[in-house]
Symmetry: C3
Subunit: 108 residues, 3 copies
């Protein structure tokens, strides 16, 4: 048994929990925040049989991988008080994952 501790960005949490639950992995969600100025994140605890560890890591990679998106939600101020949408590349997602050995596992 391994314990996977995954720190993921808030915007990927729903997708990731959905994907893991579909595959019958059990997930516990802890409230967490990054250090200063970092956007919100969530820490997930996932207990998993040794031989399924890589499968869980693949699901995390698939659901949370850092990717660039083009956003047009930002606006740029122009002289004369008009605003135009300003397309911009931003990076979202990303996860930090620790796999720890579990010496004993019980459910009561």
């Amino acid at each position: 048994m391994k314990l996977i501790i995954a720190i993921v960005q808030d915007q990927d949490v729903v997708t990731l929990i959905d994907e893991l639950t579909e595959k019958n992995f059990r997930v516990t969600k802890l409230s967490s925040t990054g250090g200063f100025l970092k956007s919100g994140n969530t820490t997930l605890l996932i207990g998993v049989e040794n031989e399924k560890t890589q499968e869980v890591l693949k699901v995390i990679e698939y659901s949370c991988k850092t990717r660039e998106i083009t956003t047009s939600l930002l606006t740029m101020s122009m002289p004369g008080e008009s605003y135009i949408p300003y397309p911009m590349q931003v990076k979202i997602g990303g996860a930090t994952v620790f796999v720890v050995d579990v010496e004993q596992y019980i459910r009561v």
Copy 2:
């Protein structure tokens, strides 16, 4: 030294912390929630000397074991707008527990 990570149902947290504290075990409580549609739970961190691990696991089992209770709080709607109490068996409790080896432990 071991670190016991116990995910327990909210309704058992007060009893469990009381029992562990009485026996001089130190408990840290993390806010946590289960995946979708699961009732509230709490994750506890318990640092323990190797030889006391099984004692803590027994306290967790005693305080959190899945059990059936008969509830009469539910009501059933009847024709004519009367309600009668409806006794029902429901399962409560349960805990998932991971024991992890601690390589180094310090208190400052």
Copy 3:
């Protein structure tokens, strides 16, 4: 790679995260509370290369060590309804730290 799980008093969290971030360590903050009647604390997760473990532990010791302070914020009630400031030695700070081995570490 090691995972350092540090339970620190709330009043030391900002200083500790500042010190660790300055040294390029990455910190994740979990909401936590102690057992009954204990003041607020916070649990930090810090992933660290093996050879930097002792450096992180030194930063934690430096930022969180239990120390005595003299407070004059407390007041003592006197006959005739006057109050005088009452200097008092109180202990603050302190941390409990677990170092756990990480079998696999990925960032996606």
